[in-house]
């Protein structure tokens, strides 16, 4: 694969990210669940349900009256779904790849997925069939080395053995720019990473919104408390 092709793919993904991320988890998950129906992957469904149930779009935080503080999250951006090809011929491995793909998408990221095996094509087709745009989930034939040197990725979701993981981590650390997150699964019997509580959170970045509500019309909440009859 030429660098230019990969560049184009990353640019295409980047331009699709904002709208996909802005959809919100619930709307994305509705679409992704349709795609997941074709796949019959209980882990994928379980993860989608978990994201829907445990990651509210916005959490209100405590603070002084007259100020509204909330903690929100969004996808990190463009995520590379990649794998160690030597490990890729089992169904258990396919499950892991599917889990990484769907979690990345559900949490508001756009993805470029390495075509390690046939299953990648099947996953991709399932997504396109439900109307998810091909800029949101793209396939690439680039090698893991090429992918890991590209600075356009915000995170890498990797499945494979520990040795190639360590190599990948080394290559990633040589990049300039954003410190890419490396979200990896190396055990395909129990999926300790994919089933952990923190797993979907690794795909997101948080943002805090702090609004001085008194600037827009006064501290009405507090005034009410001051005159409260009790």
């Amino acid at each position: 694969m030429t660098i230019q092709t990969l560049d184009n793919a990353v640019m295409k993904a980047e331009s699709a990210w904002e709208a996909w991320n802005a959809l919100g988890a619930a709307a994305r998950i509705v679409q992704l669940k349709k795609a997941a129906q074709e796949l019959n992957q209980p882990l994928v469904n379980w993860l989608l349900n978990n994201v829907a149930a445990s990651m509210p779009d916005s959490v209100i935080l405590p603070g002084p009256t007259g100020e509204a503080n909330s903690l929100n999250w969004s996808g990190r951006g463009v995520i590379c779904i990649c794998a160690d090809s030597a490990a890729s011929d089992t169904a258990a491995f396919d499950t892991a790849i599917a889990a990484q793909l769907f979690t990345a998408l559900a949490t508001g990221n756009v993805v470029i997925m390495q075509t390690v095996d046939k299953y990648a094509h099947q996953l991709h087709a399932a997504l396109l069939n439900t109307g998810i745009g091909d800029s949101i989930a793209q396939l690439t034939s680039a090698s893991i080395d090429e992918l890991s040197r590209h600075e356009g990725f915000h995170a890498y979701a990797f499945c494979g053995m520990p040795a190639p993981l360590i190599t990948l981590n080394k290559t990633l650390s040589q990049r300039n720019g954003v410190l890419a997150q490396l979200i990896s699964e190396t055990e395909f019997e129990t999926y300790p990473t994919l089933t952990s509580l923190d797993y979907p959170w690794r795909f997101v970045t948080e943002s805090t919104l702090s609004v001085n509500t008194t600037a827009v019309g006064g501290n009405a909440t507090l005034l009410e408390l001051g005159g409260k009859d009790h």
Partner: protein, 1055 residues
């Protein structure tokens, strides 16, 4: 504590003034219930008085309600759109902002924004008043009653939507502006003093007199202060020349109008920290006005402002009052707010002051207009209590207690009381309590007309109207404040005209209502310390604006201002002194001042520290989370116990100002308590949940091993302890590598940590050269994770070092740089923006990750904002950070200084210079950089972050907002963003599109609070999770899963 009833003792006012002064400050945040018990006897009526008051108030209200003209447009409007309704708030917001917007596009967008989101229609049939039903929107949109189409069933049709849809935006804008002017007209007596004098005649004929208030915000620049000074001067001249010959029968019509002066309009730095300037140059300015007023025969009243400035205002008042220009005049007065806990001793002090000089002091007693912001301010600063009462009836009680004192015989002749209230019960009480008629009432122009028309008819009493004079544009922020004061449902004015409210409910004596409460303080408004309820204690702050607090606080710090500290590595609880390199630390603002010596560790200490940390890990990991959490909470308490020493270190080692140092210690305390709570939440009980294969999984969290925590010098205590406390609470052992520049405070923090019960093996301190120690630490395979705050470049080096270990990836939590922007549009309030910009860009000498670097100003307001920014920068005091007067301290060292100065040099050549704050004459003793601002064409011109007090300003056209957003995103950084707009649609659009970790709307963008504003960026600015947020601590843990059916354990080994 001052015993309130002593105030009536004979001879009380004959004490030396200084004795009475001593009574004031300690009451600043006194326990509310205890103090109210003191005050109640002063307010409580005896049976006879109670009966007279009730009767008087009932009659007044009956008469007012019988008066057809009682419900004015504004009253009716307030009745419908009270400020606890969504629509009421939107309406006030529109009123506040619309008229100052210079460009049509933004004005239209604001109207659209406010009209589109609320259920205005519901208000059409809500009120019993035909007037409100018919004119709600007519009043606002056209200024006259619009005829409503009716549906066949007699209900009004969807008139608003039709109205809005039918009319084009420019037409709506025009009528909205018209409507705002009508509102303005209700409240402004005249746009100029001449107009006001003319418009006031009809009321003067009725027997009223006037006090004129020139509208305007507080001055931020010397130019604005000069402008306001001229306004006052001209107003005094005009009033002096006024030749009105009283026709009215009332006392008032014969008395000349007075002028109210807002001191904060006369000086850009009317603050306690700038006391020398206030009592010097500012005092001279006010004296000029006094001389002019006295010569013109026009009385002057000094307005009341925020609680922080009360004591300063009194000192200034005394100086002015005792000046020979004022002696013998008797027309120099002031306003006192009864909601202040200090009000009663202030009155006693003023009465004694007047008695000692023999000149009467006119004194307007108000309830107080800044109540909401006083409460919020104290909550934010973690103060020991509130300066104001938290219940309305407590304020009303205090008002009556003050009134009784002011009407007493001992005060008679010394103070001329002016009771400002729109409450019929308060007025009836004053009349009942008075034994003489040497006092007056005051009411606000446009309010309380019916009530006082009745009072003036039935009593031989002067009533003065307090009337704003000025541009309608300037009125609206003021109007919002007045409406806030009067518009909430509980307000008397609101209910006086509300026929639904029985009179009997309006004539309860506030002292009776208050006494009936189980707790005298309002239980719905927690004290600042209890802001986070049962979860954790809020960190404690000190109010250095208040004499009593500041004096004891200073006494805590002083013993450490000459200390010379000796510090070094701490390994396994021992201070290491072998194989170390001694470094001499001097204060960044005065290199002649020695702070102490720090011994730097060498690479040979790294292995030793790691070995102890590794050995201690299993037992610390298995220590119950409750024990770990409690130790951190003990540390938080110890930090507060050692406040004085830590303050001195913040000053002397890090060059931090007083308030920055307080904030620093508070943040450290909050981190310890917050992560203690987070650890308990996440780690006390295992979580059971259904697994994807229909088994049940149990998940427990535990520490990962050894964490290396590498922290920066700009928050040498807060970030240092934030990282460590999260790592420790999660059950890791820690090697802490503090910044080279600020290792002494880190050393003291670790000593306190050991004192708090953290085992010696769990925490190792390695001060020293970052390159040497950092490399040795991060290349060691025993390290299970790194938390780092610093530059993006260093983060990349650490990442490489970790990745090169031939080990699986471990968590690397990095907080790095930023290129932080603020976007302001033309709906913003310029004074508020400039205040927030100056703080965001220059506080802490710009050495905050969150600090503002690039300000985007909508072109239409740039020529208003930029000069104001320039003027405000001229007023910044750069210098010794130990002093209260200093706004901006030094930068950390010579390297930082020369880098920043080079950037300024480059900008001098390539950009448009805006302003530079002056440096002190002895600036070369330390490493100072003057706050500097340049105008540039875009953020893309800045290739790297300048970590200091340098601001770049970019003008943008409103239609190019999205380009601005794209350019901010293209920088790759994503830490903080500020937005100033009254348009919520715009705010939402910007927040949705800008990729930033912390977004602040209509406020400054620095000073994130732990657990309230979790902090951290994205992209080049950091990895997350956010410090002080609910996910941070979890990143320091690993999850241990066990599946019940198989009872196998798996470890989540991933990074």
């Amino acid at each position: 504590m001052f015993k309130a009833t002593d105030i009536f003792n004979p001879g009380f006012l004959d004490q030396p003034l200084s004795n009475l002064w001593q009574l004031i400050s300690p009451l600043y945040a006194v326990d509310e219930s205890i103090w109210l018990k003191e005050l109640l006897p002063l307010a409580a009526p005896d049976a006879h008085e109670r009966q007279r008051i009730t009767q008087g108030a009932t009659t007044l209200i009956e008469q007012v309600r019988a008066d057809d003209g009682a419900i004015h447009m504004i009253d009716a409007l307030l009745l419908e759109y009270s400020l606890d309704s969504h629509e009421g708030i939107l309406l006030m917001c529109l009123a506040e902002a619309l008229m100052r917007i210079p460009d049509a596009d933004t004005a239209d967008a604001l109207i659209r924004d406010k009209l589109s989101v609320a259920d205005w229609k519901a208000h059409l049939k809500n009120s019993d008043s035909l007037f409100v039903n018919a004119s709600t929107w007519g009043l606002l949109l056209t200024g006259k009653v619009v005829s409503l189409d009716e549906n066949k069933d007699g209900t009004p049709s969807n008139v608003i939507n039709r109205f809005v849809n039918k009319m084009s935006e420019p037409v709506i804008r025009k009528v909205m502006n018209q409507a705002m002017k009508i509102m303005g007209h209700q409240f402004v007596l005249g746009r100029t003093i001449k107009e006001a004098l003319k418009n006031g005649r009809s009321d003067r004929d009725k027997g009223y007199s006037y006090s004129f208030d020139m509208l305007g915000e507080a001055a931020l620049t010397a130019q604005d202060a000069d402008k306001y000074f001229t306004d006052y001067e001209q107003a005094i001249t005009a009033v002096g020349q006024d030749n009105y010959q009283g026709k009215g029968k009332g006392k008032g019509s014969r008395s000349k109008p007075t002028i109210s002066i807002k001191l904060s309009a006369l000086h850009p730095r009317y603050e306690v920290g700038q006391k020398t300037r206030v009592l010097g140059e500012m005092c001279d300015k006010v004296l000029e006005l006094i001389c002019h007023a006295r010569a013109s025969g026009v009385g002057i009243t000094i307005d009341a402002e925020e609680a922080d400035r009360l004591e300063l205002s009194l000192e200034l008042f005394q100086q002015l009052y005792q000046h020979e220009s004022t002696r013998g005049w008797g027309e120099f007065g002031l306003v006192i707010q009864a909601y202040s806990k200090r009000a009663l001793p202030v009155l006693a002090w003023l009465a004694a002051l007047a008695k000692s000089q023999g000149d009467r002091i006119p004194l307007r007693l108000v309830k107080g207009a800044y109540w909401d912001s006083e409460i919020k301010n104290c909550q934010q600063r973690g103060l020991s209590g509130y300066p104001v009462y938290t219940r309305k009836e407590a304020t009303d009680t205090a008002y009556l207690a003050c009134a009784r004192f002011l009407l007493s015989e001992s005060v008679h002749g010394h103070i001329y009381p002016q009771f400002a209230s729109h409450n019929a019960h308060t007025a009836a009480s004053v009349i009942a309590m008075s034994t003489h008629t040497d006092f007056e009432f005051q009411r606000l122009h446009g309010m309380g007309d019916a009530l006082y028309n009745r009072i003036i008819k039935d009593n031989d009493v002067n009533v003065r109207i307090y009337a704003p004079v000025g541009n309608h544009k300037d009125l609206l922020p003021y109007l919002v404040r007045r409406l806030l004061e009067n518009g909430a449902n509980s307000s008397f004015v609101h209910r006086l005209v509300d026929a639904r409210c029985p009179i009997s409910e309006l004539v309860h004596h506030p002292a009776d209502v208050l006494s009936s409460r189980q707790i005298l303080a309002n239980p719905y408004i927690p004290l600042p310390a209890q802001l986070f309820g049962d979860e954790r204690k809020n960190s404690h702050g000190f109010n250095i604006e208040i004499e009593a607090e500041s004096a004891s606080f200073d006494a805590m710090i002083q013993p450490f201002m000459s200390t010379t500290w000796q510090a070094g590595p701490i390994i396994n609880g021992e201070v290491i002194s072998t194989d170390v390199t001694q470094q001499h630390i001097t204060a960044p603002y005065n290199h002649d001042q020695t702070v102490g010596q720090i011994n730097w560790a060498s690479a040979s200490h790294v292995d030793e520290a790691l070995s102890y940390a590794a050995a201690a890990y299993p037992s610390w990991r298995d220590t119950p989370v409750e024990v770990r959490a409690t130790a951190l909470e003990r540390l938080a308490d110890l930090l507060e116990i050692n406040y004085g020493e830590l303050m001195a270190l913040c000053h002397r080692e890090a060059g931090k100002t007083l308030q920055d140092s307080i904030d620093e210690i508070r943040e450290a305390v909050d981190f310890c308590r917050y992560y203690a709570v987070q650890a308990r939440l996440a780690m006390t009980d295992a979580i059971s949940m259904p697994a994807f294969d229909n088994t049940t999984t149990t998940i427990e969290r535990q520490g990962r091993g050894i964490f290396v925590c590498i922290s920066p010098w700009n928050f040498p205590l807060a970030i240092f302890l934030g990282q460590i406390s999260a790592a420790l609470a999660a059950g890791n052992t820690v090697i802490a590598k503090p910044a080279e520049q600020t290792s002494i405070i880190a050393f003291r923090a670790i000593q306190l940590m050991l004192e708090a019960g953290i085992p010696a093996g769990a925490i190792q301190l390695l001060p020293g050269d970052g390159a040497i120690l950092g490399a040795a630490l991060t290349s060691d395979k025993r390290v299970a994770g790194v938390a780092f705050t610093g530059s993006t470049g260093t983060a990349q080096r650490i990442n490489r070092s970790l990745a090169n270990r031939d080990a699986e990836p471990v968590p690397f939590i990095a907080e790095t740089g930023g290129q932080n922007a603020m976007i302001i549009d033309s709906t913003c309030l310029p004074e508020q923006v400039v205040r927030d910009v100056v703080r965001s860009a220059f506080a802490s000498a710009g050495q905050r990750c969150s600090a503002l670097r690039v300000l985007f100003v909508q072109q239409d307001v740039a020529d208003r904002i930029i000069p104001m920014l320039r003027g405000a920068m001229q007023e910044q005091a750069v210098g010794n950070p130990e002093l209260h007067q200093t706004d901006v301290g030094p930068v950390i060292n010579k390297t930082a200084q020369s880098g920043l100065l080079k950037h300024i040099e480059r900008m001098q050549e390539s950009a448009t210079f805006i302003a530079q704050s002056p440096l002190p004459s002895d600036a070369d003793k330390g490493t100072f950089v003057a706050p500097t601002a340049f105008e540039i064409s875009g953020i893309d011109l800045l290739t790297e972050e300048q970590f200091g007090p340098i601001l770049h300003v970019v003008r943008y056209k409103s239609r190019e907002l999205d380009k601005v957003i794209d350019s901010i995103n293209a920088s790759g950084f994503g830490l903080t963003l500020g937005v100033h707009t009254r348009n919520e649609t715009t705010a939402r659009h910007i927040t949705a599109r800008v990729r930033a970790g912390n977004i602040y709307i209509n406020r400054d963008q620095v000073g994130a609070v732990v657990g309230v504003q979790p902090f951290g960026g994205q992209g080049l600015s950091g990895t997350g999770p956010k410090a002080g947020g609910p996910h941070y601590l979890k990143r320091f843990t690993r999850e241990i899963q066990s599946t019940q059916t198989q009872s196998t354990q798996t470890q989540n080994k991933q990074a």
